[in-house]
């Protein structure tokens, strides 16, 4: 058995006795430490990076959650702070970003699509299928009605100017690329890839 200062190591009761601590005559201290820590449990938090959802500045976040994403474990976000390594914000957050934990846990947070039919007073929860079908239907109807294929001079322009779209602020380059492709292929010109608020 060799000692090393570079390889991975594991601390066990047996290992400590043969360690430099044991060999110097402090074996009892090692045993006392192993016994003292025995009744305690480990706490556990998951650490992940993310981007603030609020605006196009896109500050970096560190998010801490309980639960290890194992089977049957319920995950719960416990803390959000600015990412000190992110070149945009270096750990700082604006008041809205600093309150993100409350946004995550807000009882009024929208988690499913809701629909208020024309003339109705209340929103009611609907399925994603219903919401997507409804949006597609309305977009199709409006595009069929207002699509501009040629301008006054007869040049082909393929514009759809009567509907616009705002995309999310925390979108990656890939998300932006896909958003652009979807929206522009319909001829939509009133479009911002990142919500500027």
């Amino acid at each position: 058995m060799a000692l090393t200062r570079r390889e991975f190591i594991k601390f066990t009761g047996l290992g400590l006795a043969a360690s430099s601590l044991g060999m110097l005559g402090f074996g009892a201290a090692g045993e006392a430490q192993a016994a003292a820590v025995r009744p305690f449990k480990l706490t556990h938090a998951t650490e992940t990076r993310n981007t603030c959802t609020y605006c196009s500045v896109a500050c970096g976040l560190l998010i801490y959650s309980m639960g290890d994403r194992a089977k049957n474990a319920h995950s719960n976000i416990i803390h959000i702070e600015g990412d000190p390594d992110h070149p945009v914000n270096r750990g700082t957050l604006c008041p809205k970003g600093a309150a993100l934990l409350d946004v995550v846990h807000a009882p009024t947070r929208l988690k499913v699509p809701r629909y208020r039919a024309a003339g109705a007073t209340e929103f009611k929860e609907v399925s994603w299928d219903f919401a997507l079908d409804r949006i597609a239907r309305l977009m199709k109807d409006d595009r069929d009605e207002n699509f501009v294929e040629k301008n006054a001079a007869g040049t082909t322009v393929n514009r759809w100017t009567s509907v616009g779209m705002l995309a999310a602020s925390a979108s990656s380059s890939e998300t932006s690329y896909l958003t652009w492709k979807v929206v522009r292929s319909l001829g939509m010109v009133v479009f911002d890839n990142q919500a500027r608020v």
Partner: protein, 316 residues
Amino acid sequence: MRQFEAPPSGKWTGPNHAGVKAPEPIVLADPATRFAATAKRLAKLADGHPMEAWLRFMAALAEAQHAVATTLAPASSLNTASVAQAVNARLPPLAADGHERDPSWREGLASLLDHIERSELPPAARDAIEQLRRSDAAALDKLADQFLRGGLSAADAAAAVYVAAALQVYFTCSAARLKADDLRLLEERSLCPCCGSPSVDGLITATGVTPGTRFLFCSLCSTAWNHVRAVCITCGGTRRLSLHGIEGDIGVIKAETCGDCHTYAKLIYQVQDTQVDPYADDLASLGLDILVTEAGYARHAPNPLLLVGDDEAVAS
């Protein structure tokens, strides 16, 4: 919208404390305070600690290191050209395993042994001092090489602590002669940019211009270097990182475990205790190491003052 005006010069004109700043990539240790701070913190942590006897010994060892670092200050004399050559090749200029040691490190060791001998020691610790005193220069250098490059036999574990302590002083004093601006982070970010050694742990700062950043502390030359947080320092993984602490404590020390490579590295949160010392707090938190090991993780790299045998380690 501003148009047709002179373009902004790009220079910050507000107060100095405002705006976001990048952290210093490399911070070299000051030999005048490095070991004294560790000794002071160890003495404080030792009170009522289950490992009090050992921590007091470690405090005495750090005191002896401080005495050597501030009097003899054994160090190599690297010329700027060889430093620049190594840095350009993205190699550590003081590479622990390739560097040709100045013989003064042995004088440092002798002086260290003289100092540590004055404190109360168990017989085994005294025997190790005698063993080193009986060894000739060649034997001491062989022991140092084995410690630095691997292949140290378990029988030398006790003597290796004094050798490691003397080499820490030697490398810390050598690193202090370099300029941080001349150095560059290695591509392997978990290794010291100065000597290529692994870190003892990481400190999450709470003060300075970039609070909240992580600095890894070299186990040999005491250099601190910036490392991105929430990234496994062993494999670079980010997907399955967890922070483990001991239930009920105030959260000064946590172990960052990686579910991909099953290793961990300790993090010390300065915001919870401004008096922390990365070297002292690592030794005093052995209980966390034991619990995290039981949970199935291996430590990134050992503290050189607490070497543990490993069956998988390859003896040369």
